[in-house]
């Protein structure tokens, strides 16, 4: 065990898997000498050379599109999108080509591609660098979307993603790259995709979050605990497939749920979680399910406004109190 930051855990997973399986290759913008703009791929080119750690032209559609072809040829590509916001320039290749290759070729061709992308705000980044677009990808059949919140899970889930026979979009919290730090096993291990993590047990209310919003949910749980309220915190870890059982079991126990997402409220993934809770455990609910989210506005390009946009403690605690008082 070593204490690693989120970005170090990502790097450790890439190192581990490239060492173990020489079919694995990393490609993307500035992933080589620079080691990626967040250094997630630092040291890889020295170890594995420029053929396996490939600096691509700046062209997202062909980074993903070529990964589809590479995978069909027997390579296992780990493609980096420099920011998820630029994924739209490749969205058709992700949704129509990558995620459907198995389906449209009736199983003849498969695409075990992992796409890594940082997402989410909180670091005063430029326009389009902070948007949390996971819900758009969650609506794509054939694609798994995962968003771990700890360094431990980042390494284990990235290893699981690369070994998955199907494509996985692996989302990394920009804000958590260096802030998130925890104990990570040194060697090889995987964390199963599609399984949520109970970050904290509790009985009175369930706070549900993923990626960068998990630490926020935990802080809110601390505050509630100081008031004598026991909050359970669920870290979804996987957006799709969604761990319905863990959600249902928790809310059946607590009767109250608050879902916290960074992206705009309307049609965000929190809506999917809320509906799932309603379908599964409606009669256990003692209060309407609450959603905490960014407003339905563009992510602010002015750093001055970022703190107004992002769900913070006051909004989360407000929603929790509303649920608790019902």
């Amino acid at each position: 065990m070593t204490t690693l930051t989120m970005v170090e855990a990502v790097r450790s997973a890439l190192m581990t898997e490239m060492e173990r399986d020489d079919r694995v290759m990393v490609l993307g913008e500035d992933v080589g000498k620079l080691g990626g703009v967040y250094r997630a791929t630092e040291g890889l080119i020295e170890r594995f050379g420029p053929d396996r750690v490939f600096d691509t032209p700046i062209a997202e559609a062909s980074i993903i599109g070529a990964s589809v072809g590479l995978a069909a040829s027997g390579v296992i590509p780990v493609a980096e999108l420099q920011f998820l916001g630029f994924g739209h320039l490749a969205f058709h290749q992700v949704a129509h080509q990558l995620a459907r290759l198995r389906y449209r070729s009736r199983g003849k061709l498969t695409a075990p591609v992992t796409i890594r992308a940082p997402f989410g705000g909180g670091v005063r980044a430029l326009e389009i660098h902070s948007d949390a677009y996971e819900s758009m990808y969650a609506n794509v059949p054939g694609l798994k979307v995962v968003a771990p919140a700890t360094a431990h899970d980042a390494k284990g889930m990235l290893l699981a993603s690369i070994r998955d026979e199907d494509p996985v979009l692996f989302l990394e919290p920009l804000r958590g790259y260096r802030l998130i730090k925890d104990e990570v096993p040194d060697g090889d291990y995987t964390v199963e995709l599609g399984k949520a993590r109970i970050a904290r047990e509790g009985n009175d209310i369930t706070l549900i979050a993923w990626s960068g919003m998990v630490p926020q949910a935990e802080r809110a749980a601390d505050t509630l605990a100081s008031e004598g309220i026991s909050a359970e915190v669920i870290d979804l870890r996987s957006i799709t497939p969604l761990d319905v059982d863990t959600l249902a079991t928790s809310v059946a126990k607590t009767g109250r749920a608050v879902i916290i997402q960074e992206g705009p409220l309307s049609s965000g993934f929190a809506a999917e979680v809320a509906t799932t809770i309603a379908e599964e455990v409606f009669y256990s609910l003692e209060a309407p399910v609450q959603r905490v989210a960014g407003p339905d506005t563009p992510y602010p390009f002015a750093a001055a406004l970022e703190d107004f946009y992002l769900p913070g403690q006051s909004r989360i605690l407000g929603a929790a109190r509303k649920a608790l008082s019902a």
């Binding site: 070529a66 390579v75 198995r102």
Partner: protein
């Protein structure tokens, strides 16, 4: 293969749109419109190959004609024919080694699919509208047809690049229409092919039209081939109705790819004789009708005239091939028709995931129950 370094096109490239002008290589004509070889030109194929490519073109033409009539009878869905483009399609396919080389198709390359070994019943199964038509059997190195124009080109580059990285044999050909070359994916893929020196060939079938939009509207460039210069990739313009010239330039491009010299773009200038597909109404946007067009450009007549003049072909062979092809078509359609009867709701879920999530499994069970009587 000979190329002409000139600003003006050879005579056989009759249409005004078929001009190079930015230093693209123009492939010298071999098989002229009257079915004779151009002065000084040699046939690049041996006698067996001439018979093979002619048979391929004839079979393809007959299958196309039947496809259109099946569609009119309501036996299959929307159908796009290759008619008139057989010189470009079959000529290029003849340069491939079907065992190692891969085709990343667009949707109008019937002769290429046949040459790569596609069983005809699969083609009919596809157009009947059954999912089995999409999956090519093991050993038939063809990707599923592409509906999203241009999206196939990065796949071709990626696969070729992957072969190169793994030192696996195999050249990959990405087929694309003139209209689809306006898509961003075409440019991104061409650029990446240049950078990676992937063993790929970009084969552009410039048939003059993209549904109703003429080639001049797609680009102000003098040719589509001219675009390759921006990717550091050699490119050629060839008369797509001259099957020998197509074959010879393709053979050279494939050899370059095999030798590690990277990608080539070939623009085969041909003509879409028929409608875009069976739902299209060409009289709304062009005056020339199919009969006039095919009389003017037909690559099949050219080759048949040539082969006949050499004693490699005659009316008896023609009749025998026509008869056997009709039998092949009928039998393949019967097989496809039977295959397509098997349709279950669970097929919606086949091949979506290697390991389907619990929720998807539940959805499958629900839909199965809904349709279970």
């Amino acid at each position: 293969m000979e190329t002409i370094k000139t600003e003006s096109p050879p005579d056989t490239l009759a249409d005004k749109q078929r001009f190079g002008g930015h230093g693209e290589n123009i492939v010298a004509p071999i098989l002229q419109a009257d079915g004779t070889l151009a002065a000084g030109a040699e046939c690049p194929m041996d006698d067996d190959q001439v018979q093979e490519v002619l048979s391929l073109m004839i079979r393809s033409r007959l299958i196309d004609e039947r496809g259109v009539s099946y569609q009119r009878q309501g036996r299959i869905g929307t159908f796009s024919e290759n008619r008139g483009q057989e010189g470009a399609s079959a000529g290029s396919a003849m340069a491939l080694n079907a065992e190692t080389d891969w085709v990343v198709q667009s949707y109008r390359e019937l002769p290429v699919l046949l040459r790569q070994g596609m069983p005809l019943e699969q083609y009919w199964t596809l157009f009947i509208g059954h999912p089995d038509g999409w999956g090519f059997p093991e050993g038939v190195n063809v990707w599923p047809l592409q509906i999203e124009l241009g999206a196939q080109m990065p796949h071709a580059v990626g696969m070729a690049w992957g072969f190169k990285r793994q030192q696996r044999p195999g050249v990959v050909v990405g087929y694309i229409g003139d209209g689809a070359t306006s898509e961003g994916d075409f440019y991104e893929a061409g650029n990446l092919a240049g950078v990676t020196k992937a063993p790929v060939v970009f084969f552009v079938q410039n048939n003059g039209w993209a549904i109703s939009t003429p080639r001049e509207r797609q680009t102000a460039a003098s040719s589509i081939a001219a675009k390759a210069a921006g990717w550091g990739m050699p490119s050629y313009i060839v008369d797509g109705n001259d099957v020998f010239a197509v074959y010879s330039v393709m053979r050279e491009a494939v050899a370059r790819a095999r030798n590690g010299e990277g990608a080539t773009l070939i623009e085969a200038q041909t003509y879409r004789v028929g409608a875009h597909n069976t739902s299209d109404a060409p009289s709304r946007y062009r005056t020339e009708d199919g009969a006039d067009a095919i009389a003017r450009t037909d690559p099949l007549v050219r080759l048949r005239t040539y082969a006949t003049s050499l004693g490699l072909w005659d009316a008896d062979r023609d009749a025998a091939l026509t008869e056997s092809t009709y039998i092949e078509i009928d039998e393949a359609f019967k097989v496809a028709h039977e295959r397509a009867k098997v349709r279950t709701p669970s097929m919606l879920f086949d091949h979506v995931y290697a390991d389907p999530p619990a929720r998807t499994i539940r959805q499958r069970e629900t839909i199965e129950k809904e349709f279970d009587q």
